[in-house]
Structure formats: C-alpha cells, structure tokens
Amino acid sequence: MSSPALVRHPEDSMPATAIAEAGPAPAATPPAAPPSFGTLALRWYRLNRAGLRAIAIGVTSLIAFLLVWHLLTTYRVVFFVRFTNVPSPLAVYASFSKAMHDPKFLMHILLSCRRIFIGFSLAAIVGVPLGLIMGRFKLVHEIIFPVAEVLRPIPAIAWVPMAIMLWPTNEQSIVFITFLGSFFPILVNTLHGMSLVDPVLVRAAQCLGARERSIFREVYFPASLPHIFTGLTVGMGVAWVSLIAAEMISGQYGIGYFTWEAYSLVQYADIALGMIAIGVLGLGSSLFIRGAGRLVMPWRTT
C-alpha cells in the first residue's frame, strides 16, 4: 500500500487500468508483419509437437500390434494360449472386404446402430431430466433414489430373461436392455453434477433477480453439463456392452449376433471381424459424444 510507485498512478483513467493488470490480453498484441510460410510452419510444429509425437507413437504401436498378431497366427504359437485357430490379420482383412459387399453384414451393423440410437437416446431423454429434477427437489429424490439404488447394481445382462418376458418382441427387449445399461450411469452422473453446483453462483443469480425456473435453466443445468456429458460417455460404453450381450443371447440380427453366429458356423475370421467392428463402432460413438460435448460447452476449452 505504501509503495511509492503506486502513488504515481493516474487518477480516474479507466483505460490505463486495463493495461496495468497482468493476465491474458490478446487485444494488446501488436500487429506484426505477416510471417513467412516457413516461420508459420515452424511455429505450428512447435505448438503441436506433443500432439504429433502422440500420433506417431500411436500409429507405431498399432502397427506393432498387427505385426505381433500376424506372427503369432502364422507360426500358430501355443504358449498357454492357443493361437492355432485364431485368424490372421490378412484373413480378417479378406473377410472384411467380402463383408463390405455383403448387404447382410451391413444390415447387422445398421440394426445394432439403430438399437443403440433408440436405447441410448431414450436413456438420455429420461435420465438427464430425471437427474436434474431429483437434484433440485428433495421429495422426488427421496421417492426415486431407493428404487434406483436397488436396481442399479443389476447388470443389464441379468435383465435378459425378464426383458424377454416383459416385451412382446425380441427387438423391443434388446432395445430395453440397451436403455437400462446406459440409463443408470446417465442418471447417477447428472445427480452428481447437480450436487456439486456452486451455491455462490445460485446466490449470485438470485441477487440478479432470477427466479426458481431461471435459476434451474441458467445455473443448475449448465453447471451440471460437464457431469452430464461424463454420464453420457460412460452410458454409451455400457450401452454397447449391454447390446452385444443381449444380441448374443436373444438376437437374430446385429453385430453381436453376427459375432456369435460366426463362432457357431466355424468362420473364425468373422469372429475377429465382428469384434473389430464392435470396437470401431464403440469408439466412434464415444467420439461423437465428446464432439457434442465440445459443441454444447464452448467455455470448456481444455
């Protein structure tokens, strides 16, 4: 306070104060001459070095994985695990090229995707609002929470017989299982997000004239979004797990059924193809959720 340097501070000069502060001030960067392509490329390289490194290592490790797989299968290694009947990468690739022109394979994939889409969407449409309401209204929480806690630990696969009894068609029971699998992670994470909303933000909104409904829409909901998206990501993963299990047990179509059928028909290459397809689809759908999260939460850059 008594530092003499501070005494010189010009009174009443608002704009000067903006500069006086440390912190990000992009507006203050002076317009320099446009840099040459070489410098730009170099700068880009420096900024993205870590990312490039990760990509390079990732690609190498994938290739190494394929190579090991190839060696293990061509030499039919038996060392505790038996690779005698495991298809080689090339065999899987051959069956993949064949499958790409096979409308039946595409239909398996399409049907699985449709089941995921319906089951997961329903889970999100029910789970997110329910979590928000449970987080806000104690009574609803007290009524629903005990039931949810009892049902939650039951794995979706354990629901298969019950689902078959409950629903008139196989299709509906599979979608139901997918729904159940993703429903609980979505509900629980939304609830968790609601419980972490900073009360100071609620107070700030109240001081600015916000009523119950606005506080819900403008504070509780956006504040919970990061956790809602965690729930959606986890829910999507569990949805695939549940779907594949349900399809293997009770399906007639779908990528899970395809994989199981390949085993029964002794088409070993198709087993691996089904597995890889499931992996790729699961990865794609979780990337999709992450992308949606970025779009919906532009303030979270990290």
Binding site: M1, S2, S3, L6, V7, H9, E11, D12, M14, P15, T17, A18, A20, E21, A22, G23, P24, A25, A27, D198, V200, L201, R203, A204, A205, Q206, C207, L208, G209, A210, R211, S214, E218, V219, P222, A223, L225, M297, P298, W299, T301
Partner: protein
C-alpha cells in the same frame, strides 16, 4: 440506461435491533447481536472487524439470504425478505457464470428482467466500456485475471440499476497493485451511479480510503463497537494515504481492531502471551496477519 445513471441518490439501508444465531447441533451459535447500522442514500459505508465477527452474516442478511433472528432490515423503508435485484452483491469468490461470456454475465440481470436482447446488449457494452472491459466482452471468465473477473462482477451487479451495492471482501484475493486500481474503479462507479454501498473488508486502509463512514465490529458475537466518520475530502488521491489525517484515522481504527482481535484469539494464544504477539505485529496491520 437512464435508470442506471440516475441522478438522485437512493438506497437507504437500515438495520435495527439486529441479531442472528445459526442453528447447529451444539445449539444456536450467536453470530451477531444487538446491532444497529444504517447507510444513507448515496453513502459509502464499510464494515471492519476481526475474523469471524459476523461481517458476512450481517451483509448476507441485508442481501436477503439470511433471516434475522430478531430485528429488522429495511431498504428505503421496505422490509427485506429475500434476495432481489434491488440489492446487488459482489462476492469474494468472483462468482461469474463460467458458461457465459463476459457480456452475457453482465446481461444476466437484464435478461431476468425481460429486456429484449438488442437492448441489453447495448446496455452491457456501455457498462463494460465504463470499466475498461469492452475488449473482453466475448471472453469466458476462465480466461480473465482476478482483477478483471471482479470488475466484471461489479459491473454485473450494477447492470440492473440496484439501489444498493453490497460487497463482501471483494478485493481480498487480489494483489496490492490490482487492489488499488479496483478501489479507484469502484469509487468511480459509485460516484457516477449515486447508490449506497455497504462494503465489508478486513483491510483498514481500504476501508478508510473508500468510505464516508466505517463501522468497527466487536469479536463474536459481533456488534458495533464504534462508528468512525471519515472526513477526508473527495476525490481522494493515493497520496492522501500518507497524510497525517489519514494516518491518525488509521491508528485509531487499528487499535480498536487490535483489541477485538486479541479478544477473538484470546483462547488460542494464551500460552504465547500477549507481549510477544504485539511485538511481532508492530507496524503491521493485525488484520493482514490474520
């Protein structure tokens, strides 16, 4: 805007026979007892006191977040019974909405009031200009420095044209230089808007430099120990902090607070002895040490 830049001072705060006890498992905790304060329209009043004496409690009751156990809080004759946009509040923990840009944060109160988008955008821009923040209107709060965040917080609280502005240690987390600048900005806005300000701080210099009057509270359970008018003329300059008048006020307030702080800490330091403590504190503000 005409409403915001009103010309007649407003916001007469009155707190009478006030006491507030928190209910806990061990029974009621008396935070504030038998307190009377008032802020005249357009006046700048600070509350200082030892840590835990109930400053925030008192301020939160004026804001409408807490109900007095006894007594009454009124603003312009109307009884306070819940938070409202008439009483703007600035919190120590910045409390900007992270999902809204700087301008959207400032617009929030106007949006709640149902002002059309284009109109509130214009109002928010004008206000941000007053605080030297127009270049940051599209930024998210996360990207701002502490001082900028708090400036946005003040502008946001003022945007709805409240009668009074309540601030709870708003500059507590800022470094000394930024703090000085923020004080200047706050004074500036207060003088333009002619509203009354109730300002809680533990920094004695800050209280004297900013206020027309300072209330000093006793240790818990808090009540008003002294009311000190600050006759320094305005506009105030940083150089005034060296003046004998300022230093005399500072000495007076400091000894009041020291007494109370020692009382408040009495239970915790009885072994160390008062002597050692007062030597250590020589030349420093006790509030800074706490």
């Amino acid at each position: 805007m005409s409403e915001i830049l009103a010309s007649t001072p407003k916001g007469h705060i009155e707190v009478r026979n006030f006491s507030l006890a928190y209910e806990t498992i061990e029974g009621p905790v008396q935070a504030v007892t038998d307190t009377q304060i008032h802020v005249k329209p357009g006046e700048f009043v600070s509350i200082v006191g030892p840590s835990g004496c109930g400053k925030s409690t008192l301020l939160n009751a004026v804001a409408g977040f807490l109900k007095p156990t006894t007594g009454i809080v009124t603003v312009d004759g109307e009884r306070v019974n819940g938070p409202s946009a008439e009483r703007g509040m600035v919190f120590q923990q910045y409390s900007l909405f992270p999902w809204k840009t700087v301008r959207e944060n400032v617009e929030f109160g106007l949006k709640m009031r149902g002002m059309p988008r284009s109109q509130r955008e214009r109002a928010a821009r004008t206000l941000l200009g007053l605080a030297g923040l127009e270049a940051f209107e599209k930024h998210y709060p996360e990207k701002l420095s502490g001082g900028m965040k708090q400036r946005v917080g003040i502008v946001r609280a003022l945007a709805t044209g409240p009668k009074v502005l309540l601030l709870d240690e708003p500059f507590g987390a800022l470094d000394a230089q930024t703090r000085v600048i923020m004080q200047q900005i706050l004074t500036n806005m207060w003088q333009r808007l002619k509203i009354s300000v109730l300002f809680v701080t533990h920094d004695i210099d800050e209280a004297i430099f900013l206020s027309d009057r300072v209330y000093c509270m006793t240790a818990r359970p808090g009540s008003i120990k002294a009311e000190i008018p600050i006759p320094l003329e305005r506009p105030r300059q940083q150089s005034m902090m060296m003046s004998s008048e300022f230093l005399a006020l500072r000495r007076g307030l400091m000894s009041l607070i020291r007494e109370e702080s020692l009382k408040a800490m009495g239970g915790e330091i009885n072994d160390m002895g008062m002597q050692g403590l007062s030597i250590e504190l020589h030349g420093h503000s006790l509030a800074d040490v706490i």
